[in-house]
Point group: D2
Chain length 335, copies 4
Amino acid sequence: MAIPRSAYPAPFNTTRASHIVWTVKDLARSRAYYVDCFGFAVSGEDKSTLYLRGMEEACHHSIVLKQSSDHPACERVGLRVYTEEDLEKAKHVFERAGLPAKWVEVPHQGRTLHVSDAVGTPLEFCATQPVMPRLVVEFKAHHGASPLRLDHFQILTPEVPKACQFYCDLGFRLSEFIAPDGTDDLMFVFLQRKGNPHDIVFANGSGPRLHHAAFSVPDAQHILQACDIASAHGFGETLESGPGRHGPGHAMFTYWRDPDGHRFELFNTHYQMMDIENEPVRWNASQLRRRPWGFPPQRSWYEEASNFSGVKSNDPVQKPNPMSLERFLVEREKA
Amino acid sequence: MAIPRSAYPAPFNTTRASHIVWTVKDLARSRAYYVDCFGFAVSGEDKSTLYLRGMEEACHHSIVLKQSSDHPACERVGLRVYTEEDLEKAKHVFERAGLPAKWVEVPHQGRTLHVSDAVGTPLEFCATQPVMPRLVVEFKAHHGASPLRLDHFQILTPEVPKACQFYCDLGFRLSEFIAPDGTDDLMFVFLQRKGNPHDIVFANGSGPRLHHAAFSVPDAQHILQACDIASAHGFGETLESGPGRHGPGHAMFTYWRDPDGHRFELFNTHYQMMDIENEPVRWNASQLRRRPWGFPPQRSWYEEASNFSGVKSNDPVQKPNPMSLERFLVEREKA
Amino acid sequence: MAIPRSAYPAPFNTTRASHIVWTVKDLARSRAYYVDCFGFAVSGEDKSTLYLRGMEEACHHSIVLKQSSDHPACERVGLRVYTEEDLEKAKHVFERAGLPAKWVEVPHQGRTLHVSDAVGTPLEFCATQPVMPRLVVEFKAHHGASPLRLDHFQILTPEVPKACQFYCDLGFRLSEFIAPDGTDDLMFVFLQRKGNPHDIVFANGSGPRLHHAAFSVPDAQHILQACDIASAHGFGETLESGPGRHGPGHAMFTYWRDPDGHRFELFNTHYQMMDIENEPVRWNASQLRRRPWGFPPQRSWYEEASNFSGVKSNDPVQKPNPMSLERFLVEREKA
Amino acid sequence: MAIPRSAYPAPFNTTRASHIVWTVKDLARSRAYYVDCFGFAVSGEDKSTLYLRGMEEACHHSIVLKQSSDHPACERVGLRVYTEEDLEKAKHVFERAGLPAKWVEVPHQGRTLHVSDAVGTPLEFCATQPVMPRLVVEFKAHHGASPLRLDHFQILTPEVPKACQFYCDLGFRLSEFIAPDGTDDLMFVFLQRKGNPHDIVFANGSGPRLHHAAFSVPDAQHILQACDIASAHGFGETLESGPGRHGPGHAMFTYWRDPDGHRFELFNTHYQMMDIENEPVRWNASQLRRRPWGFPPQRSWYEEASNFSGVKSNDPVQKPNPMSLERFLVEREKA
């Protein structure tokens, strides 16, 4: 299979990963976790919803938490387009591709389009949100990890190549990918619009499920500070993996599980990637057997993920697939 | 005067500040400064030219140093467009505006277009450069300040509003600006294409002259590390200003003067700015009288800049202009 | 004049710089400054007194602030001895030297001895304080600069050599000193008991006056964080000097002036110095003309200091003394 | 069993942990590891020996590596006393205790005393070493982890209480200890002379064996930098545990295994501990089941250690001892 090329110009202008919508069992407990401990700012809240943003964000929200008595899930992954006109174009593009798209009213967002991508991930596109004060140098408001902004999502799907083709057709660029040695079977694809390596990442696994949303922190030392402050709040054991250094993407990372099991990453920043001559960086699966440093994640990191509300998750298509990412990685863990 | 609006879509796709071309008296001395002390990587060199890049950059060069017996100057400011087709479009746009544009051959760059902007700044547009290894996690190659990448340029001109209009017409967004209290007379404009606050900045002063090129470093502590390592190499006195914290843009900064007097900034990263609802942030001149912390720069910072080769510098149009930035800032310095 | 030798064994066991007692005009204002902004912990307070400690300190206080309508002053500099027996020995040593010493009751301290040193600095010795919880990893209690602990004092006196001899006779070790080129006339002496370079420092100037008390912070980046947080609290202009790097002692520093004009230093840690073969490090005055990096302090840093309550300050003995530290440094400032 | 009290005054003045002597199979390989990768400075070397020091150390060596074809081992643990007279006193003290002590000539050390402690650890006392340049601000010499100085040793022994009593009799202070809940059976003791929590640590296990020597680094971020640079040199897999945060002692840590299997710790600094009122801090074994954050070490950390040359290692006295540290910790690891 060939590595897909990005459409240029894009059929509509997606600018960046925008926000995540999670359901939670206990909003007060989530507030204690995200706000009191990790330091997200509250942009708004009512009895059943909490809107959060990072220190650097002037948008209204990058995290939406909704109280629900159902099993905790991810409702939608939010993406930004630049203009209202891009939204209109998006609707046409999806409908032409046989993907139903509908206009919805969403609080604290401009006109919003609901659609699912080619592998079933429920998406939400909008062009605007209300403007909030940027807190990037409001240091009295900084505490916890000083999370700066949402950077990207990672989705599990048994159909990574299909997802990759879909987003490349929308003008996303493939920045890095993992494939088994000697083949181009895409196991892990890192796709971007905003000029750094990731906006949305797809990895091989039962899905669609949300593996994690990732937030940047200012400096490498905030990775450690996050661990310390989480421990001080009694959340030290919600650290699921790290600190460590990624191969693909190169960032320093930690992974956390919130009180409802939703996973998020705190990491320091990526490199800039916006020149046309930058070909996707290939990682052979065998290269991953040796990480730069640090220890393999716990099994839960490979196996657990948030379901999307009302979306059935499928197992990897060809099973037993000896190169499925999870199998491969669990074996690495044992080695 | 009204604050200009950005053209959308842009007449051609400029992606980012790309590179700077400086002439220097002694290439070996410059190499000791930029490479041995501050830690830029050498992408190529011959008897008369040195090509440098930061740790994060996969492009061939963000600094070009050319040996010359003339007074040290800046030859050109380099900007990237996305495709060769954008270059063609650019040529038409400039010619229609009465600005002569010509194709030139430049080593280690794709097809290159030479033109001057509306206030006389000599520009160089290209779509590609040869790809070099990204050193962002090649830690054996990191030393000095671990400079990551070129971020932006600052140009002095007596015609800030004209420059602002020109770049907004090219699709640049005005992220922040400084104006005297109660007026919209633009004294300082921060313009961007790549989604953070600056690619090119214009400030009121005799010009066109290059005030500085700015390079990002990984973490706040690298600002201090740069000072220490510069001192260890005998270059402690080339620190011209800082460490300090900017008002507009919010970054932590230091300013340096290289052995030829060219100024560069080392700073930590900016915020992301890519949503349509983000209006330009206004700073009243009076707000600048009180900086977050730190001390006013030396007079040289306000007065000295690199000439552009073969370009006559003009004084601010209305003089005595009691609100000229330099005057204003020198007065602040005295206060 | 010869450089004095330290008495070994010491006539009594002084262990470290202990605490500082300052009078202030408005205790609430001081609390906002030291506690809310800079992050000192409150160990105790009543209507007229505030007891503070750093994050690392298990002692009751390293700063005592007393409300007073008099001109703000330093009441005493506190030193620790190891045992009650050392206190007894101290009393005898001072009395034999003709320096009156008396037992006093001081809240939140064990038995306390009041005495003045050979150059008139009012001292307070104690062996114990009540034990308080160490907050070094109580990260919920950390904010502002995360000050760790008191490290040293600096006193101005016209009689530096006399002060040096006095403390060496008490078993203090001279770690570093500054003298004019070609002579051993001590202008600046750094004296220690605790195994890093400073517990008490004497510098040439009108005195005795307290130049500053110094507190350590965890990492170099906290130097910058202190600046940012002070600015966020509206105290950015209380930064008097720095960030910069010291010659003698080698630390990275900032100097601050509290609302009553008392000066304190926030710096990162020193080197260990506890081997007998380590001779005092000499700095020629001429070496100081070139600091590692950074800019000369404002004049106030050279000229202003806190008086000791009820102690007359004397000018340098030989005046005009062309090598007086202040003169010398002001000249350096001009150069 | 009662917690022992420290002798005061000490029978002789031990000042600090001084140096470690390790035998290695391949000196060139060790040099590549400690010098080229981790950044220790070379104070001297000949065909069979390499003398290393940290950036902060003015002493000649804190690590001595000796080429040997035998199985890699630790020859001796070095301690400093203040004066030659303290050495003489030490000899008498050991001989009175029935521990043979003999004078030996050791290169690059003053007169040296060889003795074994009460649990068989081979020690080496000296009062002086040649003075070397302190590199603490010689930033051109800094690379790798910028290791500052030796801080402490950890020894495994089945006789922790006996070791604790022995060192307390020498004037060491017990700063922290671990005991099973409800008893005072010492499983882990942290003993110090220099005023921070550790100079020598004893933990329950087969011994005497050297578990590790610990070196401080300047800032928390150097913990991460060490991981990155080790990976860049191909030594990423020599990271055995961490980054993590200690319970007792509170430092942030990593543990490494050198090419001969010797273990060392890189950690950031401890708190100051030099007041008489500071009682030993007790940690119940059960408290350790929950570390602040991070993951249990690999089994090797609990089980492997360097033998002392020519010293037979004994198993824990009472076996099966259900509270043996190793058993306890392995069980924690499983939990």
